[in-house]
């Protein structure tokens, strides 16, 4: 197992409140790692640190051995790290396909010169559109490509953000509560997709409150409490750990 992401001794505090405290972890390729923990335990901050949305006070984050802590989010994204947001960010007033098209990297037509002259853009756009439709079909939104994202159900919108991550061709997906607040059937569908993506070589780090979901898909579970890692290991083992039970139940 080769490691894809290395987080070592990372700390971050906001106005004196410690959100992440000396956190270390290693994400291996083709593995699904889940982070669980009570509210305010620093889960989302950890994701923000990896994605470059906040900078660590101390510690290093390495992607394939390359230091990414301190890089701007768009640079990290371009290196193959995609993420979704807990409060579900996407372009609600745009069509699904436009959401996915925006996610493709290194498009010639994003430059002013190519956009004006049309050089290289027409064929590229055609190919991107075809791929975008395939991705939407893959996540289960076939035939909805031209509907507005805002008109979809909450669960379907989560599928759109997943399709965006895939369009980025990222190796590492950071998913913030991918199955929270949606019906069981959709939740099952998303978990199946995640398992399939692991098969296809993606590495996934997810934050989730739904422990059943976590058990179902995770290879490794990391438990956070007050910004510190209190347990790590196989899901069934970790969830029986008395320290974890105490942190969760009290």
């Amino acid at each position: 197992m080769t490691s894809l992401l290395e987080v070592s001794e990372v700390s971050k505090s906001f106005d004196g409140v410690v959100a992440v405290d000396g956190m270390s972890m290693t994400l291996c390729e083709r593995r699904i790692t889940s982070i669980i923990g009570p509210n305010g335990s620093g889960k989302t901050t950890l994701l923000n640190l990896i994605g470059g949305f906040v900078f660590p006070d101390r510690g290093d984050i390495l992607l394939r051995g390359q230091r990414i802590s301190g890089m701007r989010p768009y640079r990290i994204a371009a290196l193959g790290v995609a993420r979704t947001f807990q409060n579900l960010r996407l372009l609600r007033r745009a069509t699904l396909i436009d959401n996915v098209l925006l996610a493709f990297q290194h498009q010639a037509g994003e430059g002013v010169f190519c956009a004006l002259t049309g050089w290289k853009t027409r064929r590229e756009e055609k190919a991107s559109q075809a791929t975008a439709r395939e991705l939407l079909a893959f996540v289960g939104l076939e035939g909805k490509a031209y509907e507005l994202a805002g008109s979809l159900s909450y669960g379907q919108q989560k599928l759109v953000t997943l399709a965006c991550c895939l369009a980025m061709e990222a190796d590492l997906l950071l998913l913030d509560e991918p199955v929270a607040g949606i019906d069981p059937e959709m939740s099952r569908h998303i978990l199946e997709l995640l398992a399939q993506l692991r098969q296809e070589g993606k590495t996934i780090l997810l934050i989730e409150h739904d422990l059943e979901a976590v058990k179902a898909v995770s290879d490794t579970v990391i438990v956070l409490d007050e910004g510190r890692k209190i347990a790590e290991g196989r899901p069934d083992k970790v969830m029986r750990d008395p320290v974890v039970v105490e942190a969760y139940l009290t």
């Binding site: 994605g51 701007r72 768009y74 960010r89 925006l102 994003e110 002013v112 956009a115």
Partner: protein
């Protein structure tokens, strides 16, 4: 006939101004009140270069574009750090500074007296003396600007701009350097506004700071909002309406003394009406926010 040609030329100038502001405000969501400053830098640069250096129009235009690029870069700097209401205030402040610089830097800009005796433009060795000739030049440059805005808006470039308007964080997470795009779009918009300024200066042959005040910025923004922000044809239509309709006031016998005031009331009323009943503007699909 001359009057109709005059209206057509002024309309074209406003089409350039509103379509270029639309790229900045309508597509990208950078609510800028500094567009008249870009318009002004184009007009003043063209005027000063033409009067003092006696260079042909193409060179005046070229120097104006470079000046506008620089100014666009300066204005976009705060836009990288702040948004929403604060950005409106920052661009407002910039516009006010620009206006006072024009009014008070008397040695260079002529101050409140303005710059006069701006020569008629010479294009390819041919001096444009007639109104119809000038209209031809204006329509040609307007066509280029509208075409360029449309190309940019429809391309993946425009998709990123709209992404920034709808959700900056999401767009950033998708690997787009939003600061680079903000600078680019502001500079492009500034350059086009400078084209409008260059046309205006060489057409009217006299310019003073009052043409480039905050009221002008507000008017251009009103055109964009009333026409439909985030569409190219909306602001173009808005420019046609907001330039020509107030002119009709002349024909219903309103004294010249109150006509300009009435015009301001008309703009204000229209803007309020649209904000309440049709926030997406005439041709727009989305409410401007």
């Amino acid at each position: 006939m001359d009057y109709a040609l005059h209206l057509a030329i002024i309309t074209c100038i406003y089409i350039i101004l509103s379509v270029s502001l639309d790229l900045i405000a309508g597509y990208t969501g950078i609510l800028s009140l500094a567009h008249a400053a870009f318009y002004g830098i184009g007009a003043y640069t063209t005027a000063l270069v033409a009067v003092h250096l006696r260079l042909p129009f193409v060179w005046c235009l070229a120097v104006s574009l470079v000046a506008a690029m620089a100014l666009g870069g300066i204005v976009s700097a705060p836009a990288l750090r702040i948004r929403g209401d604060y950005l409106v205030i920052a661009t407002f402040g910039f516009q006010v500074i620009f206006y006072h610089a024009l009014s008070n830097w008397t040695d260079f800009t002529g101050g409140p007296m303005g710059v006069f005796g701006i020569p008629q433009p010479t294009v390819l060795g041919y001096t444009v003396t007639s109104r119809s000739g000038f209209l031809l030049l204006t329509v040609w440059l307007t066509g280029i600007c509208v075409w360029a805005c449309r190309r940019l808006a429809k391309a993946p470039f425009g998709r990123v701009l709209q992404g920034i308007r709808e959700d900056e964080i999401f767009t950033l997470a998708l690997g787009k350097s939003i600061s680079t795009y903000k600078v680019k779009v502001t500079v492009i918009g500034a350059v086009m506004a400078a084209v409008a300024g260059a046309l205006y200066a060489s057409y009217i042959s006299f310019i003073d700071p009052t043409s480039f005040s905050i009221m002008e910025s507000i008017l251009i923004l009103a055109i964009v909002i009333i026409g439909g922000a985030g569409t190219i044809w909306g602001p173009a239509l808005g420019a046609c309406l907001l330039v020509t309709v107030p002119e009709l006031l002349r024909f219903i016998g309103i004294p010249a003394a109150i006509a300009p005031n009435l015009r301001q009331i008309l703009y204000g009323g229209l803007l309020m009406g649209f904000a309440i009943w049709r926030p997406q503007g005439l041709l727009g699909r989305y409410a401007f926010r």
